[in-house]
Symmetry: C2
Subunit: 374 residues, 2 copies
């Protein structure tokens, strides 16, 4: 059974344009996956997410496990039926959230025990349970359970974790059933180049359906993150998609696509939107700023999103200052339109072997001008 195929269609430098073939349809890559943490991309209907250009979204197993619980989702025919999204869904394993609980969790060879953040109940997650949970959700692309050590974790800790991750990858693969979705491995190793290599060899040797870089954008300096990506992506198997987890500002997307990454997810575009920070073709602006109080211009005159076509900065600022629900929705639409449009632009540029020119223009537009926010 084919669970996930990657078809490379064009390259431009190290950037590549391709397609993911999933059991629920195709995804053009490089792709950004909006995050639908709790069975909803916050404030939006599924069809609005699709209209913005998303072909795949991400669901968070940890959150859904706690609320509403797997049985409820499963009874609706999985996450697709529950939330009304018809395209492919990638789910994480739940591990990232569990390991973020810090002192509330204990990791052992078998798996991880934790007290959940909602009612403090004692729960556990193992490589097998993470796969079972994701299969219950009807995930099209599942992620293996792994440990994501925090930035600054000691070398010995990172090494022990990645070795365990490799054993967990094998257990995840063995736990997958015939009707389950694809399964991707996760390369850890922190900021230690040789440990990244070690993790990559251990994980990629297991013939999974794709490979992710984990443990980045967790607090390390940006240059260090870029260096790890720069060094690791070229070593991933070319016939499989490369997924950079948790990264997704416009600047990072342009840079990391240039390093050969095919898939991204990140809460920042939607979270920043809800905090009033809006992406523009020249950088970003904070709609709370008093300078926009009577500004009749759209957020970005070059943007074709609903918010920019229909409403002024003054209106969006008013909605935000008045804490109106429509503010979060219009801001989310705007930022997702920006990010998904950026990905479409990158794909098109790569197809014409123009990645470098695209990236140059992108950075040139961001050069700060007098009086501009950046």
């Amino acid at each position: 059974m084919v669970r996930l195929e990657y078809v490379q269609e064009a390259v431009s430098g190290r950037a590549r344009r391709g397609r993911l073939l999933t059991r629920r349809g195709e995804v053009d890559t490089p792709a950004f996956m909006p995050v639908g943490t709790q069975a909803t991309v916050k404030s939006l209907l599924p069809e609005e997410v699709a209209e913005l250009g998303a072909q795949i979204i991400l669901g968070n197993t940890y959150h859904l496990l706690l609320r509403p619980g797997l049985e409820v989702v499963e009874a609706h025919g999985g996450l697709h039926g529950f939330m009304g999204w018809e395209g492919p869904i990638l789910t994480d394993s739940g591990g990232f959230q569990v390991f973020s609980l810090g002192a509330l969790r204990t990791v052992e060879e078998e798996g991880v025990s934790f007290r959940n953040h909602l009612d403090g109940g004692l729960m556990s997650l193992t490589p097998e349970l993470a796969v079972q949970a994701q299969e219950s959700l009807g995930s099209d692309i599942m992620m293996m359970l792994d440990e994501c050590p925090p930035a600054g974790a000691e070398r010995a800790y990172v090494e022990r974790a990645l070795e365990r991750d490799a054993r967990w990858a094998a257990r995840a693969k063995a736990a997958r059933t015939e009707s389950g979705g694809a399964l991707m491995g996760i390369v850890q190793g922190g900021v230690y180049p040789d440990l990244r290599v070690k993790s990559l060899e251990l994980i990629c040797g297991q013939e999974l359906d794709g490979y992710a870089l984990g443990g980045l954008s967790v607090g390390e300096p940006k240059e260090v993150m870029m260096e790890v990506i720069d060094q690791t992506v070229p070593q991933l198997p070319k016939e499989r998609p490369a997924y950079l987890m948790g990264v997704g500002t416009p600047e990072d997307l342009v840079a990391c696509v240039g390093l050969g990454v095919d898939m991204f997810d990140c809460v920042l575009p939607t979270r920043m939107a809800r905090n009033g920070t809006l992406f523009t073709s020249t950088g970003r602006l904070n709609i709370r700023n008093a300078r926009y109080a009577d500004d009749q211009a759209p957020v970005d005159a070059n943007c074709g999103c609903l918010a920019c076509r229909r409403f002024s900065r003054a209106y969006l600022r008013h909605l935000f200052m008045a804490r109106e629900l429509l503010a979060y929705r219009l801001n989310t639409i705007h930022n997702l339109y920006q990010v998904l449009g950026l990905m479409a632009g990158l794909r098109e540029a790569i197809a014409r072997d123009q990645y470098d020119a695209f990236a140059r223009d992108f950075w040139a537009q961001r050069a700060p001008e007098p009086g501009e926010e950046n």
Copy 2:
């Protein structure tokens, strides 16, 4: 210049079916006006409000005066341009909110002084200023400044207020400019039948474009409210629309349409939606109830709204419990669909002279059944 015309098309008992002709298009009556307090019907886009069947919405002058301020709205060509609503807009005078401020306001013959609820700044509102503000907003139907005494106000206080209201009505009419919208008067008088008559005579003698009943649904017993409406509406001029301010649950709408009311506004359908209370064809349900946790049925199998066509009670409950923004939006869509659909049903029934049968069916469906919430 014709500012507002009412055309009666059918009657059924005391209920009447008609049309309001405003400078921005027609409104079928009896009509429910969704409330867009701060230049937005909370969580919805203007086109969604229109698709739900609303032909006119209400804006709150007090709120807009404070935030974003009249200059900003005026610079956008008024509220229509600012928020993107193309149909008629009725605005209140701001008086209701100001008088709700209680100890923070002082009323005199000239007008009312108050400290606003946002920054405590000292402001004042007069009959003239209320008209000017509403004209700045581009209101199609303006309301006169009046005093809304609280439930339980003493007779002497209510009488003094309604006499002042009559003088304020004349000043409001005089303040209106040639390019201004229609101006409606407000009949007060509390729960005192003879004072209602006195106010009605004083206000309706001024040949305004329509007449509202104010000072109801402010805490008095429901039977008393219905009695005042029952007694007052028949005395209003038939060639002008009758507007009952601040009333709009399904039950009240059916009852008050039967008493001859043409126009309604109320925050309850949208506010209750945001609190998880959903109207159904048999009453209402609270989506927080644990009984809905795994309920795959729609909120109301007889409802054609987006939420009921697409999502289960379990999903809506999940969104609500998880405090997801989409919860408030879907619940708002549902309750407005219910209320606006109810108004369409009432209009159709009146056109066939079937108001009584419609109301009988409505109440029969609400008879509590074992295990039902009501």
